[in-house]
């Protein structure tokens, strides 16, 4: 009874599901592997800063807070200049730093990893007061030789590592902190 297994168009069955599966896998592959890369533009830092080679000082030497607990931002060129007025080694990264920025007296246009949109209010002060570890939110840089690429979402400006609201809320709940809108929104 072979005639009964023909489909409506009269062709032999069996090839349709193959097309479906191939198309399905192609769409999945595009969505999972290709599209996320298309969505993010990649920005490299102007100078590579090997955190691992700067472990002789404390983090606060470069990443400091003002008296009111506000963060002073990405390190200024002046703090690099304290040691690197002239090259102390022979690495390529240092050559760029000294020749392009320190000798020309130019600030380094660092790219931000922890960028947050305008409507987010965040102060380090309460977190410092509660002794929250830096690595609770930031990546551990102590053994890092190369700064990672900054991936910026082309549509929203969010970085691939931008902390999402649910992370803040979870930690606030666990530690009994306020989860009111105005606690983190301005």
């Amino acid at each position: 009874m072979k005639e009964e297994r023909k489909d409506v168009s009269g062709r032999a069955g069996g090839i349709g599901p193959v097309f479906f599966i191939v198309g399905f896998l192609a769409a999945l592959g595009f969505g999972w592997f290709v599209f996320p890369d298309l969505l993010y533009s990649e920005k490299t830092q102007p100078v590579n800063f090997p955190h691992a080679k700067h472990q002789d000082g404390s983090c606060e030497d470069c990443h400091s807070f003002r008296k009111d607990g506000s963060y002073t931002g990405a390190p200024k060129m002046a703090s690099c200049k304290e040691c690197h007025e002239d090259p102390v080694g022979d690495s390529k990264d240092e050559k760029v730093l000294v020749e392009e920025y320190i000798q020309k007296d130019k600030e380094i246009p660092w790219q931000t990893y922890a960028w947050q949109p305008d409507n987010v209010y965040f102060s380090h002060a309460p977190h410092l007061a509660r002794d929250v570890e830096c690595t609770r939110c930031h990546r551990d840089v102590t053994k890092e030789d190369n700064l990672p690429v900054v991936k910026v979402n082309r549509l929203t400006g969010y970085r691939s590592g931008t902390m999402s609201m649910v992370e803040c809320e979870k930690c606030h709940v666990q530690n009994g902190a306020s989860n009111a809108c105005a606690a983190c929104h301005k």
Binding site: K67, D68, G69, S70, P117, D118, N119, Y121, S123, A125, P126, L128, A129, R130, S178, A180, C181, A182, A183, H185, K186
Partner: protein, 251 residues
């Protein structure tokens, strides 16, 4: 516990405005506009379309000269303290506007707002305004925007926040100084700008605060539309009976 399941704390920020002292100079309104990045248009005459967080009303007693009297009434958001929520928070379909039960401040998350304007309709105090256009500032005013307050986009509602960004700053400092959060005091831009000190701001639940004392003034204190039981946290003071009698008329 209030009806929405949040525990009430010992803090209820509120405002007392002394109408006997108010000269109608509008410094509070201007200071608010600047502090909170409130956008404006070249022609602000259509008050149904313009945005004002701190609006000044002129009250008149309706008599002819020489009995004619008038007074000014600055009107921010009342941050209603009714048990079931403020009228605006009650109607918001997306929880964009919520009362913080720790401070009593009614906040509004702009990116979450869908612009349905139910809250504008629900608010009996006309405290809310809608962004009909993209906010623009004439050059070079954009450079002087306050970075501590986010700029609202077209299509969302906005209103007075009791300068909650100033509260956040004061709280951040309290954390470092190890001051209890319940004791944090701060001053909104309007109260700071008032030249006659007509606006007093503070914790209404702290019996020692100036605002709490003034709001309990038996002779002069009144609130607007008290008959609606919205429990506004803005109290007015006036020694004139005709001003107090206007309080139950709608705005």
């Amino acid at each position: 516990m209030s009806e929405n399941g949040h525990a009430k704390s010992g803090v209820r920020y509120g405002m007392v405005i002394d109408l006997d002292k108010c000269t109608g100079c509008m410094a509070c309104s201007v200071a608010c506009q600047q502090e909170n990045n409130v956008s404006f248009r070249p022609d602000e005459s259509n008050k149904l379309r313009s945005i004002t967080w701190m609006e000044i009303y002129q009250l008149e007693n309706g008599e002819a000269f020489p009995e004619y009297r008038h007074a000014y009434l600055p009107k921010p958001c009342m941050h209603c303290d009714a048990e079931h929520g403020a009228p605006c928070t009650f109607v918001c379909p997306v929880n964009a506007t919520k009362r913080d039960e720790e401070t009593g401040i009614v906040g509004h998350v702009y990116p979450r707002c869908i612009g349905c304007r139910y809250c504008i309709v629900a608010c009996p105090y006309h405290a809310r305004d809608f962004n009909w256009w993209d906010p623009t500032w004439p050059n070079p005013m954009e450079a002087s925007l306050n970075p501590k307050v986010s700029v609202r986009m077209r299509g969302v509602v906005e209103k007075c926040t009791f300068c909650s960004h100033r509260l956040n700053d004061a709280r951040a400092k309290a954390f470092l100084d190890k001051t209890p959060l319940n004791e944090v005091v701060y001053t909104p831009a309007c109260a700071e700008a008032c030249p006659t000190k007509a606006i007093t701001f503070g914790n209404l639940l702290d019996p020692g605060s100036e605002a709490a004392k003034l709001s309990k003034d038996r002779e002069r204190a009144f609130r607007i539309l008290e008959k609606l039981h919205t429990e506004p946290k803005v109290t007015y003071l006036s020694s004139h009976k005709w001003v107090r009698d206007l309080a139950d008329k709608s705005l």
